[in-house]
Amino acid sequence: MNYLGERLRHASDLVSLPEDPFERLIRRRDRRRRRERVVALAVAAVVALGALGGGLFALTRTGQRTNVTSGDGNGRLALASGQYLYLQEIVSTQSGQVRVETWWASDGSGRTTYACSTSDCHWGAPSVGTFGPGGFPVESDVSNLPTNPSALLDSLEQRTATDGASPEPAFSPGPEVASGVTAGSLYRAIERLLEYPNAAPELRAALFEVFAGLPGVTIDHDVTRDPAGRPTIALSFTDDNGPRVYYFDPDTKQVTGFGPPGATDASDGLTIWNEGIVTSTDERPTGDQWLFPPAGVSA
């Protein structure tokens, strides 16, 4: 081993190992299995009772309301068998743009394309290609997360906690909203989920509801358009990474973008999303297939 390698290895040897890592792994696996089964049963029961309804929801434990009308996009958000959720993510950076397009179906099939004009295009690139059922690369299966906002908040708290399936670093600021879970860790968890190409439209709408009700998140009523000029509900918050604004479509509650406050069309750090539902990985949405007005669309 070379000198640098020796120094690095020596340094890493100074860090204490996590306690009982294998036992933690077993608990993590068991929790994931248990939660997915419980949620699946709960969803099945709810569906059987026909109890899924729209309307305002109350985050009764926190006593917070979003103060916006909960919408289901007039039933447009359901992703049926054989349909694909199309997402186009356009990220503006100082050195260029990154564009990622994904088509994802609930059977785990789909397609990803990637175009990049920044200075380091390979690093961080997604796996591109067309994938058969079960083959679409996802970081985490979130298909069993509830789409009822109140139940989703419970789920996120369990998932985000230090011993949860997807714990977030404890440095995140903000008041503690549940045992071991701060509002800041929930901001981060929701941000991550909103970037998942396999987060279905109904889940995205529920994430908006949860997000808007968290302590420290405010609806900026002065902002009525997102940086791409589309009607918007703007949610503002600040965490370790500074102030940020997320933009949501008022009708479907889908995220349309995020960036620093006051970001314009091509500001560094601005991300713009386009979203729709199509029936093939070879097509992009048109007309009513878009879930909100598209911006800056290109092939």
Binding site: M1, N2, L4, G5, R7, L8, R9, H10, A11, S12, L14, V15, S16, L17, P18, P21, F22, R24, L25, I26, R28, R29, D30, R32, R33, E36, V91, T93, Q94, V98, D107, G108, D120, H122, W123, G124, P126, G134, G135, V138, E139, S140, D141, S143, N144, P167, P169, F171, R188, E191, R192, E195, N198, D240, N241, G242, R244, G259, P260, G269
Partner: protein, 178 residues
């Protein structure tokens, strides 16, 4: 239903197969320490290692039979993918999560003793990963390149640049500390 759910529903119950547990115990420490160097955050390293092992476990029957790089190669590839994925989410400057993770207490302690660890900080994650895979894990460049999903020549370029930057940072530190 996705592959992950199918795998989780498989009748593996709460007991790991002996092979997997042995595999875990053999590789966990090495992977954790390598990830710590890449992320410079203990919690992040532990989280990535746990997620990578869980994904391996869910596919253990298939992964353990891999003829080429074997399960260890698949483990490192999975871990780096998780790392990259977390990094990709944070690629926008305002959300550069890895860079913005506050140094944990242990890192501060190690940094005070090891200039090389502090010198890692300003390196781009790609260079940091290349150095860790080649110089700490001692992977052959072809295998390290496969783990990172780049050509071997690209990997070597990144490692060369990273080492040069590391040496420069270390020399600067040595001068400052007299």
């Amino acid at each position: 239903m996705t592959e992950a759910v199918l795998a989780l529903d498989a009748p593996t119950d709460a007991v790991a197969t002996p092979d997997f547990e042995a595999f875990f115990r053999e590789h966990h420490e090495r992977l954790f320490r390598a990830l710590w160097l890449m992320t410079r955050n203990r919690h992040e390293a532990e989280e990535i290692a746990q997620e990578a092992f869980l994904r391996i476990w869910e596919r253990w029957e298939r992964v353990s039979a891999m003829p080429e790089t074997g399960p260890a190669g698949y483990l490192y590839r999975t871990a780096v993918n998780v790392f990259r994925s977390r990094l990709r989410r944070a690629r926008v400057a305002i959300r550069r999560a890895i860079g913005s993770l506050p140094p944990d207490d242990e890192l501060a302690g190690v940094e005070s003793r090891e200039a090389v660890v502090r010198a890692l900080a300003p390196l781009p994650p790609a260079q940091r990963a290349a150095i860790v895979l080649l110089d700490v894990l001692d992977l052959p460049s072809e295998q390290a390149a496969e783990v990172l999903g780049v050509k071997p020549v690209t990997l070597r370029v990144r490692a060369t640049r990273g080492r040069a930057a590391l040496r420069e940072e270390m020399e600067r530190h040595d001068e400052l500390s007299g």
